[in-house]
Symmetry: C2
Amino acid sequence: MNIDMINEAAIRIKGHARRTPMLTSPFVDEIAGRRVLLKCEALQHTGSFKFRGGWSMVSTLTPQQLKAGVIAFSSGNHAQGVAYAAKMHGAPATIVMPADAPKIKIENTRALGAKVVLYDRATEDRDEIGARLAGNELTLIKPYDEPLVIAGQGTTGLEIAEQAAELDVEKADVLVNCGGGGLTSGIALALEEKAPKMCVRPVEPVGFDDVARSLKAGEIKANEQLSGSICDAIITPQPGDITFPILKHLCGEGLVVPEEDCLRAMAVAFARLKVVLEPGGATALAAALYHGDKIQGDAVIAVATGGNVDAPMFQTALSKYGS
Amino acid sequence: MNIDMINEAAIRIKGHARRTPMLTSPFVDEIAGRRVLLKCEALQHTGSFKFRGGWSMVSTLTPQQLKAGVIAFSSGNHAQGVAYAAKMHGAPATIVMPADAPKIKIENTRALGAKVVLYDRATEDRDEIGARLAGNELTLIKPYDEPLVIAGQGTTGLEIAEQAAELDVEKADVLVNCGGGGLTSGIALALEEKAPKMCVRPVEPVGFDDVARSLKAGEIKANEQLSGSICDAIITPQPGDITFPILKHLCGEGLVVPEEDCLRAMAVAFARLKVVLEPGGATALAAALYHGDKIQGDAVIAVATGGNVDAPMFQTALSKYGS
């Protein structure tokens, strides 16, 4: 896993994935007490960065592999990213999703032409189900522990380096909402090469801080629970076998924020930046806004990873913090 | 008023105004029955295209003029655009706003350092108030009937031409939410030069269709009422003396959509594109989605002009049409 793979992924996704904007607002800066740059992957195709990794891997498959189809297991964003990338390659997709995923994610995945198989997040093991369904024919697109997927997510980091330089930001903490660590490790690898003064820091919700604890312990630690968070997009059992060594080598200390701060950050993104974020997509922004004492420097970069939120959850954020 | 002025404005705003994304979604295409490209000026600084025109004019002022300050009258988006452009130039700004403007617009304008003067939209004449306050010292930044402002808004058209070409769209109706016609005329001038197969068409809400009626009559017609619309951003007494001849020369027939369709379009933008639009910023998208029978061609471009909406109004849109 290295920068060359990310550069190659950037060539494959060019003209297919969107170069998402880096958003700023003087109002957001004032709340945070420093400059905030928001890399807005909620505006990526399918509403999250996951399309990058999906396209990165699907675009390397042979015609035979495409014809046989792909399979993925996902809480919803990887599902849509893979489904759309597969559809654009003319490949059938089977997606294994938790039954408690946001309705919009399940519906969108189906609407993108994928066959959706639901499972119970608390009692069933999605890896096992995925492996069984995959058999020998379907190509499994893992959500994070797959070099081609990490390389695709890492293209976000190439853009962050360029866009931060345009805004004269050379040194900053780069906060990334972190599940299995595919995006975080990809960005860390990209920035190690392109913007070495940046410090990538994973952000997780309270109660699901496996990455922060793993980094502290120097070895992989698991979450005690796997459901019950509004930040569904970034809840995974533990960091990946491929991603964790990268995180350990390149990342700063993990940040952990209360879920309520994610709802507050969603309301700020609505009012000040005009983007829709889901709770798990607003975790890094929440850290930038409300946990600045744990951040270094005059500027901070937060990655807004996704915006696939059901209307009632968004309305809750606005009702509580919208004025 | 010509393309050279728009090209010059593009040089002045480069690195200051944001090059906003052109968003797409297969789900949106499906509703519209054709490809939809959404030029998303809600993601512009201050949440609307108005920053372009504000910067375009303020950046031409002399040091003495900047020191004396600027004045503008606006329902809120021009207010914020001028206030922020003035602030970034170190110039004091006085903004005359209707008392019934969305709270977020009034608050943001004040927070951007401007002195805000409120007036009653139904009984007072904002032009008269503005002229009186301006006196001989302050530079008046008109919202649309000012060549330097039209030139700034027209830079949106330069970007539309480039971004549409990248997506292989050469010929399309370009739907623009239209108040006084500054943005619409600017885009029309830019596209006349850069993408002559495009047809710019103003879009307005039912009951406030002065531009559509003026185009039909071949002469300026006024609105009968000036308040009572949720599309506050695009309610003006009548097309401008400078903008109307341009609209008459270059634009296709105006489109008129019910306000309720704007709320529906806001919910679609939330779910499918992850952007926050205000009712008057969603009018063109509403026409693309729900009035396709009045549109020509395989693709349509809609300009999403602004996203400065109070939380309760946005929640209304989601409650009605969010699932």
